[in-house]
Amino acid sequence: EPEVTQTPSHQVTQMGQEVILRCVPISNHLYFYWYRQILGQKVEFLVSFYNNEISEKSEIFDDQFSVERPDGSNFTLKIRSTKLEDSAMYFCASKIRQGRNEKLFFGSGTQLSVL
C-alpha cells in the first residue's frame, strides 16, 4: 500500500527556535493535513490544505504555524517560535479526494520535543 512519509522521526529543539516538519504525501493525493497528539491527549486536527491554500484550520493553528507545499511532492509544517506546549507527535495525512467517506492515509509521525 502507498505510504505517507514523514521526516524526521524525532526532532528536539530549544524553546523559541523555528522547526520545519516535513512530509511527502502519496503522489496522486490532493488533500493534505497536519494533526498532532500531545502525550496522553487526543489526536487533534491542525490544518487542511488543498490547491495550494489552507482550506480549514483549527484554533490551535495560530500565527506561529504555517504550511507550505514548496514543490510537487513535499508538504511542510513550520512552527516559527516553539513553545514547551508544542511538544507532541505531529502526523501528516493525505487523501485522494474530498468528502467524509474518504479515508485518510497517515504518516508515522514526527515526535517534537521542545526543551
Binding site: E3, V4, Q6, S9, Y31, Y33, Y35, Q41, K42, V43, E44, F45, S48, S55, E56, F91, A93, Q98, G99, R100, N101, K103, L104, F105, F106, G107, S108, G109
Partner: protein, 114 residues
C-alpha cells in the same frame, strides 16, 4: 458537532480470547466512522470504515465493527486476539464544513497476554 468517546483507555485480553473495544459517537448527521490502529513507531493504519452501507463492517486482520444508530455506538471486535494485535486503537468520526476533518477518540491501548 461531531465527537467520539472511547470508553476504555486500556483493555487487556489473553491470546485467543475475544476483543471488544468500545466507541460511542455524536454526530449532527449520518456519520462516517473509522477505526485506526497505531503500532509502536508506526503511522495510523485504517482497520475499517462505516459509510452508511452495511451496518456490520469487516476490516483487516479479522476485525469488524457494528454501527448501531439506536445506541450511537461503533464497537470494534475480533473473535480471537493475536499477540500482533497489541497496539493503540482510535475510533474516528469525520465531519467539518467540507467533511474533511477527522475527530479522534482518546484511544484504547490493547494488551494481549500470552
Amino acid at each position: 458537532a461531531q465527537s467520539v468517546t472511547q470508553l476504555d483507555s486500556h483493555v487487556s485480553v489473553s491470546e485467543g480470547t475475544p476483543v471488544l473495544l468500545r466507541c460511542n459517537y455524536s454526530s449532527s448527521y449520518s456519520p462516517s466512522l473509522f477505526w485506526y490502529v497505531q503500532h509502536p513507531n508506526k503511522g495510523l493504519q485504517l482497520l475499517l470504515k462505516y459509510t452508511s452501507a452495511a451496518t456490520l463492517v469487516k476490516g483487516i486482520n479479522g476485525f469488524e465493527a457494528e454501527f448501531k444508530k439506536s445506541e450511537t455506538s461503533f464497537h470494534l471486535t475480533k473473535p480471537s486476539a493475536h499477540m500482533s494485535d497489541a497496539a493503540e486503537y482510535f475510533c474516528v468520526v469525520s465531519g467539518g464544513a467540507t467533511g474533511n476533518q477527522f475527530y479522534f477518540g482518546t484511544g484504547t491501548s490493547l494488551t494481549v497476554i500470552p
